[in-house]
Symmetry: D2
Subunit: 151 residues, 4 copies
């Protein structure tokens, strides 16, 4: 899929998203941070550690889901008007490889920005001594709540 | 769907699952606990609190996913032989209502227990002053790793 | 999941749905027919035959999807107002067993009837000399198009 | 996602897939044909016509699913050994725009070729007087049946 060139309607989208992200207790709990933002795109990273692990020591599929659901949601949110907010309708996640390493990066990409529904896809990669491995693949549906500012 | 009556091959399945659950840093991090276990069934609960919230104060979709992915995984694991472990291949989650309240309970149900792949479905309910609301619906594929004990 | 008791807003929902079904060329092509309708519920059946088969002789996963996507869509449509129509936003389908036999029956059940989005789940069973086997499991999101009558 | 360069283990993969495709009654019924094949890739096309339509005249979501499920399945199958066959474990499909026009082309891409499970994604485009519109997005899990030749 060729990367679409999207234009943000709200020029202040980045500060609006960083403020929204800062209100998420879950992002602080898992130690996630936004590492990149562009119209239709968001990347969120976390450092794997025992508190995020499942029973074999890898990052839990649900934590991977938390990262990439947020990356997809904020990718969509970059394109929304200022007085709106975003909710996840649903997502589907395939786990492709054990999630561990030095850093886990989830990327969300807008595929189809509709007025009411926005479709995104997501990819999560594990970085380990310079090598990057695709560990998860997501497809997601978001809903735009018009007239309901996020804050 | 009528609830199938499943029989556990490993009579010690409950202690095996509780030990596996105790090795999950992510379950401790979010404060989750197993509240019910039966062959083909697992229920996991958490108390909503600001550390689990997304930007509007509800429990984050990813935390809901973490709960119900685990409930589905352990529902499947109840039916596995003792020397095996379980991995999530994929899941799909619909978010139906804001997740808040006094307690969030995720239930996993085995639908089809194959030798290699196990299909489950999951439901998450929010309990608020005695009222229960369905907040999420999941469909999940697990893979059985034979000959690889979980511990 | 306990079956919810739904009430249809349009008392003529059954004739509206049968007329809509009759406009579907794809339903005629595969030989599908509605075998049951109730508020929040629809069942559609087809007789397996070589024209519906994949390479091993079983009914093609896409034909199974066609049946259960329609059953879910019309299950939702039973609850819509008369001047609306329905579109599938997305669905996820697990194939559990080979689809063959004397008859294939897909059932759609409304789980959550929202004003804009309706969530359903679906089950497909194969009937073979009196025995019924669950062959597929679906989870689906529909969107209500208000003010756009189906015909 | 950068396109991975895959190598087919069976040099005769194309003729093996065309023979498998020819055994599918469902592909003949809907008038589908393979329009491209490469290691890890398959494209299948169909011409929209009333027999494939849902109630509004667009190609039925289930027919779109049939195309892209097959494209994903054969994309995976290009990489399998000669004495194996392929089954769809599950797929998830988002419908993005009405499917009509002169031609509908479904493409399947292998994302992760495992020994037992293969993950693909798919895209469906409608072509109308030279313009191409993305109408559906898929994510799919396949299982390799080793030692069971397709024919």
């Amino acid at each position: 899929m060729t990367a679409a060139a999207f234009v943000a309607r709200d020029p202040a989208y980045a500060s609006r998203i960083r403020a929204s992200f800062a209100r998420q207790g879950a992002m602080a709990l898992i130690g996630a941070e936004i590492v990149d933002l562009a119209p239709g795109y968001c990347a969120i990273a976390v450092q794997p550690r025992p508190e995020l692990a499942q029973q074999h020591g890898y990052v839990h599929a649900g934590i991977v889901a938390t990262l990439v659901d947020s990356a997809g949601g904020y990718a969509g949110f970059t394109l929304f008007p200022a007085d709106s907010s975003v909710l996840t309708v649903e997502f589907k996640l395939n786990l492709l490889a054990p999630a561990d390493g030095d850093r886990l990066v989830a990327e969300g990409f807008v595929v189809k920005p509709g007025r009411t529904l926005v479709i995104t896809r997501g990819e999560v990669r594990a970085e380990k001594v310079g090598k990057r491995t695709l560990v998860a693949l997501m497809q997601q549906t978001l809903i735009v709540l018009h007239g309901k500012a996020d804050a």
